[in-house]
Symmetry: D3
Subunit: 219 residues, 6 copies
Amino acid sequence: MKIVAIGAHPDDIEFGCGGTLVKYIDKGAQVEFLVMTDGSRGGDARVRRREQARAAGVIGAARVHWGGYRDTLLPSVRHLIDRIESVLRKTHPDFIFVNDPDDTHQDHRQVARAAVSATRHSRNVLFYEGPTTVNFTPTVFIEIGDEIERKIEALQMHTSQVMKTRIEATPISEIATAAAHFRGVQSRVRLAEGFVPLRLFINIAGPPLIAPPPRRTRR
Amino acid sequence: MKIVAIGAHPDDIEFGCGGTLVKYIDKGAQVEFLVMTDGSRGGDARVRRREQARAAGVIGAARVHWGGYRDTLLPSVRHLIDRIESVLRKTHPDFIFVNDPDDTHQDHRQVARAAVSATRHSRNVLFYEGPTTVNFTPTVFIEIGDEIERKIEALQMHTSQVMKTRIEATPISEIATAAAHFRGVQSRVRLAEGFVPLRLFINIAGPPLIAPPPRRTRR
Amino acid sequence: MKIVAIGAHPDDIEFGCGGTLVKYIDKGAQVEFLVMTDGSRGGDARVRRREQARAAGVIGAARVHWGGYRDTLLPSVRHLIDRIESVLRKTHPDFIFVNDPDDTHQDHRQVARAAVSATRHSRNVLFYEGPTTVNFTPTVFIEIGDEIERKIEALQMHTSQVMKTRIEATPISEIATAAAHFRGVQSRVRLAEGFVPLRLFINIAGPPLIAPPPRRTRR
Amino acid sequence: MKIVAIGAHPDDIEFGCGGTLVKYIDKGAQVEFLVMTDGSRGGDARVRRREQARAAGVIGAARVHWGGYRDTLLPSVRHLIDRIESVLRKTHPDFIFVNDPDDTHQDHRQVARAAVSATRHSRNVLFYEGPTTVNFTPTVFIEIGDEIERKIEALQMHTSQVMKTRIEATPISEIATAAAHFRGVQSRVRLAEGFVPLRLFINIAGPPLIAPPPRRTRR
Amino acid sequence: MKIVAIGAHPDDIEFGCGGTLVKYIDKGAQVEFLVMTDGSRGGDARVRRREQARAAGVIGAARVHWGGYRDTLLPSVRHLIDRIESVLRKTHPDFIFVNDPDDTHQDHRQVARAAVSATRHSRNVLFYEGPTTVNFTPTVFIEIGDEIERKIEALQMHTSQVMKTRIEATPISEIATAAAHFRGVQSRVRLAEGFVPLRLFINIAGPPLIAPPPRRTRR
Amino acid sequence: MKIVAIGAHPDDIEFGCGGTLVKYIDKGAQVEFLVMTDGSRGGDARVRRREQARAAGVIGAARVHWGGYRDTLLPSVRHLIDRIESVLRKTHPDFIFVNDPDDTHQDHRQVARAAVSATRHSRNVLFYEGPTTVNFTPTVFIEIGDEIERKIEALQMHTSQVMKTRIEATPISEIATAAAHFRGVQSRVRLAEGFVPLRLFINIAGPPLIAPPPRRTRR
């Protein structure tokens, strides 16, 4: 099982599907990040790069690909599609996670739309949410009760961003926890991440595995 | 300013718009509740009635009307409309709050649909959410930072229901707080309640005017 | 893995998710049908009952529950919910499949709406389509290349209905095959069934199982 | 109370929310216009600038900002966002009105989308309609019975445009009046303007309070 | 060409598609009305019956069928479907017009839903709007510049209803005219009626007819 | 009757509305194609040009206009609009067919959006579907039982593309046939093409024509 998670900026992936990725990795999946911009509007690009590397490490990602674009200065959709396709060709992921296209942040919209095209022939593509997503009504869920801690820890690796939520006195960890509770209520579990499927194949093969894989030791 | 808040069951109103009602009451509005069923599927009807009375007291409601129906045994939509209209005729509310029609609980759907008809000639009608609402994408918000405590306190008056959330180890107060945080993030404040307007007039008159500005002379 | 498939009439289930059920059963899942009405508007009730039993046998279902209602004479939504809940309480299904609520046939709408309520606390609920569904835009798919034959065979057990499609010279098997091709194209496989999730948890545990279970011999 | 009204072309603002702006100004609000293009596809740019100045004067706007772009030659969304943000930073508006994003005119779409991003941290953002808007289903209304005359008068200041409606023998004033009647019917008043909220906070403070009610003591 | 126009109450049909029906009749079509209730909530049933007969006469309808139900006291959806089907079986219409299902009036919703089922096998079914319709975004239009007068005249035959619009000092004729202008603007003509298709076949056979049928003389 | 069919790539038009165009041409309509890109991503541009000419010949189109852009390298929306308008100004079509804007292929989205603007003052604009369209819920249909053969024949003229469907062992003709069956079922006929109207005027003039035009001989 291989997964590529695509984010417009550093920390988008962790917020949107960090718990889910932890869960997949704990089951043996290989996860790679593709972060399209350097996040330089929100802080120093080198700092953000370092933070992103650490956060990906906490999640357990095998690699971080960088799109190579500057924050809010994305090129044409065609270039974005090519960039995403170049990563997909190398990784052949079974699953792709990406920002939702309905968002007040223009970079999120552009990356999401490019991903819709780049993943045209992929089987499983799921949109995740962020603090600026609008009209997001998830129907697909993953329970993250055991993974929330690691998700929050990953978000906190983005030290320069933790308090930059634009909501007074509200760190990003608090927002992520509230979202997990909120999506949990909607899906009848304690904590969850919610997704909107562009296209999803149900995994019929599955549970219960005769023997569950040993739980990975937390760092 | 007069407000009628309509709920299918005891505690629907407090969860959906309790903070907003507290805020209105603090500004001098008069609020009345209309609770359509006795909540007897979730507990003893007499207990729930007492709890509802206490919760309404915490909110500061002037009165609780009872629809008189048994939980999950609502009559035809025509009867529901008549019942709601009979309360509206007495109170002439400026604002009406009611369950959202897109909900997995059939009583919520039926009460919401009846309210859509009964409020046909009302100016301001807003749908609120609950733990079983689906596809709810609010665009209208009220900040409840100063009111959240009283909202939670009111929810806790429904003692028999606090732990009946169907989500393991999650009291209703925790769900309500997570929702307030989540809707806060969407509206760029710390804590909020979100609404979907059926029909809403903007109050132009304006924020605390010491003295109304002189009317501009028309040319 | 236990599955309950709910249909308003005999043959709804086979058309909407027959291939998917075959696939699940081949992996060891236990499937039960709940057919709400006797289909007496489309033919003799006893004949249709017999046909339904045979078709369920072809699919491999463990049991057919009957709702006990007459075709187009469904009772109130409350009764429908109770009936569905009574089956769910006995079976505790992991997955539920049911007609889509947006349909020109009133029975489909009513059964779907009742199921939305009855499955309020279930984790996986998927809507399937039929020839009279409208505005159905599936995002969840299951590949049925190996199962299409058995699906068609099951549909043909409903001998009295095969030509009652209201489309000139078009047997139900042809319609089902066209639909499988059409949903296949949308999901990038040869043949598929498409679903709209009310609520779906991704099965992370998953593939690949060390040894796939032996393929059931076709009768 | 400060308001910024954004329009892609001269006369968009007057058509979409002219009556509302008059009403706000009559209550003491300060309104500024931001007109993104010079309207040179519809007439001489200098003429249109003069007409816009006069129309803004009739409405009572304090100032007209010009985006500085040529009609149908808008730059990238990033530039548009920056331009809008530069005005918002100076004015700090409480309310923002802007074209709706679902429109057959590409400039309207682009300005609306840029505004969605530029107003990301604003509390009150409302979309208004125009003759080429599609799928516009307003839920927020403002009664403009006393303001319609001034709205029409402002529209007529755009002398070069009055008959350029592309509808035979139908001046823009007639279209605006029909729209006001139509939105009035939907909101149960004689004449109204309708809006779709991107995000709206209800003004609870309320209609001309002679003296604010004493704050209730919390128990 | 045969048309059946279905309305929940007297005057619904004239308001929603009166101009269109006049136009069809002028081309030789045969139109029948089916008015489901007696309109007794809005006036004396016998008076309304007489008014409806006159209005249908102005339009040029060949016949008025009565559903036979009392205003706001519609029976179950099954009965409504049977009633509508009984008329359709007799008339075999090529086109069916009916109230839109998204409406604040419960009778409109119920009649529309029943019609969706009853017309399950019809080729052309169009929803029309009324003063209480919500979220109506028509994509199909008919120009009624030559027919508006007759439409208004027909509406005025409902003498008891003309001023019962619930909008101060606004007769139904004024509302209908504003709506025709508004839908005209959306469709780029002076006056139009707008429709939402449930299902519509384009008439390719078409224009221009070698010789247009003689224009019916206006009374 | 004049029709312009717009497609982003060679073969889009034939897939989306080939049967409909054949039908119109058989009734005497004049059809022109506007193919925006050279399709060079899917094959040699000169080959594709030749194939497109042949396919248009099979349909019976009077002319093929070429947008002149390279596949996936479309210019700004403004240039696209100008290009489309230049063709519309010459042809003055009564009907326009174009790709649907909700599609995973970026060229389809861009061409569709440009066409929405370029056809701003046209009366009849219909979106057609393709294998990568998403959320397409057609409400307007044309029966193509007599035209399907010619449609398939036209698709097969695109020899280089027939097997490039990205669906294993599935030629484009098979996909087109399945789609025609699927849309047929939805519209209650054997075979159909489905459309989403941006704006459509019903042709009231219509059937029956005194004498149908002579059927074109099939090659």
